[in-house]
Symmetry: C2
Subunit: 333 residues, 2 copies
Amino acid sequence: MKKPSITDIAKRAGVSIASVSYVLNGREKEKRVGEDAANRIRQAAAELNYRPSHIARSLRQGSTMTIGLVVPDISNSYFGDMAKAIEEEAFRRGYTVIFGSSDENPEKSERLVQTLLDRQVDGIILAPVEEEETHITDLNERLPLVLIDRFIKKAGINYVALDNHQAAYQAVEHLAKRGDERIAFVGYLTEMNHITERYRGYKEAMAAFNAGFSLTGQVRYSRLDEDIETVLDGFYADPDGLDAIVFATNTLTVAGLYYFQRKQIRIPEELAVIGFDGNVAFDFFYSPLTYIKQPIQAIGKRAVEILLQQIDGKNQQQHQLHLLPELIERSST
Amino acid sequence: MKKPSITDIAKRAGVSIASVSYVLNGREKEKRVGEDAANRIRQAAAELNYRPSHIARSLRQGSTMTIGLVVPDISNSYFGDMAKAIEEEAFRRGYTVIFGSSDENPEKSERLVQTLLDRQVDGIILAPVEEEETHITDLNERLPLVLIDRFIKKAGINYVALDNHQAAYQAVEHLAKRGDERIAFVGYLTEMNHITERYRGYKEAMAAFNAGFSLTGQVRYSRLDEDIETVLDGFYADPDGLDAIVFATNTLTVAGLYYFQRKQIRIPEELAVIGFDGNVAFDFFYSPLTYIKQPIQAIGKRAVEILLQQIDGKNQQQHQLHLLPELIERSST
DNA sequence: TTTGGTTGCTTAAAGGTTTAACCATACCTT
DNA sequence: AAGGTATGGTTAAACCTTTAAGCAACCAAA
């Protein structure tokens, strides 16, 4: 008992398949199908429990109503929240989401994207990884694309991201205002814009509020635990000590918290800490973390909106959005 | 400049499309295409940068090389980890994953599943929600299906889950052995097997180790925060106090931790606590939580393996797996 | 009585594959 | 010379839609 097709309906209603297609797509008026025939068609469809073949439609129309999502790691709470927001918004608008995790690996990212292209997704939402710039530039020529979180600032490339500069600036400002002077910043060793902008925000704020003191640590994605250890040990080797640390992402923050926990560093007495993105762990660290909160749902939703606009072909203007962070103040500062 | 098709290759190589198809699918020997023609075909394909149309192939073959994944909430770390494991294993085997979050809502779950069916996924991995039993039974007749986490114990339904009874039993046993007597259990108000089995494990262990004391709390999915409050307040109203609490899921545990934090209950002195599933929050609660750890990656991987076996049609036997939990002992007990 | 316009349909192509069935040639056997 | 069998292909149908184009019948107006 195979799936009924439009042909089965046509037979049962005694009409041609064209009429069936017109009626089932609600174009009976426009295409002048008689009321009588239309009713027979609808009834036959209902009786047979007809469901259109999405695949056949895609083949014919060249559009799959599917969007691809590639993030570094879907099990990271930041991207999990993002994925949820994106899938929800896409579903609401009749789109389906295919996803994959790139593991911060450009080859894997390209492989995933290739799979998405092979499947003819109508558009892609991507959080790029290191060394992917030319790939993205090429990709952007081929189909609608919106970057999230990380991005490339280049004409014609759409993205929805945080105002990273502002975020880091705000963190430092907050610390400076409570009297911290020796403030360090821990980010990733990368040229990706989101991180470099956070560095820049940190530096500018330090110049503005703290007479230019500056101490930064760089961690490799692939050696997170190892490098966090080295960096923080390095900071502590400094005889003058440190007043505060700002971390650049939620993963870095969590890694830092493990360190503080292990070394029994008292927060905020010995050291003030500001986290990034948000994470349940921040809530349960013995001194709940002050952190820079991203509007994750808004980013996801806007990314979908922009992508679908590009797909629909109207409004081809470029969208480069920097949404505003919010400082959530708690007891680690 | 549209996508090249098999026809373009055929023209360029001066052969028919059938030959092209045979060669590109590596069936040149079997289908007796000459070495000469085969080479011309491969070269033409390379020159044109040919990529097969996944859609056309799906239409013709009736198989999409796609699996659907429906979980209650992909932004929950448990399901995020699961989704990652599933996508990885599927990708390794040439399959793509479409996903959606059902929000513990059976209508939404059915809508998502319908979308997956409309897209002709080859199989579905599903974590069911309340009131979905008949839906699942029907679904199981229609295509390969593997349930994860939650399940229905019924002939012919495949699932990969935790040995829930054992998990809860083990938790209680651990507490009893350290001398706790008045042990309570907090689960969801549901008839879903995974939770009822955890209740049963708790009760049996209590009967075996603690002369039958029993105190359980039931929380509604839709009223989590509210009900956790009520339940825990209720427990504390008991004049004799409580020695320990076991929580049935990571979400419940985290909600409980917020409560303990707010009420400044000292763990483990005043109360011992055992969490479930695992979560970063468990690590940073001031008294790192002892918990029942699920082999999430293994569950995800096995689910994919079983699903693909069913899809491939070989090995149609039923798989109902209960993987073993592991007790991670730390300072909350 | 022609022309023109509606109305209500149908026909057939197209989208890109896979694959069963056929065909033509060459060569080998008896 | 007839029959058999490799070899190296090709043709065409099928999967299920959408949609441009065509057709037949009727009515109205000129």
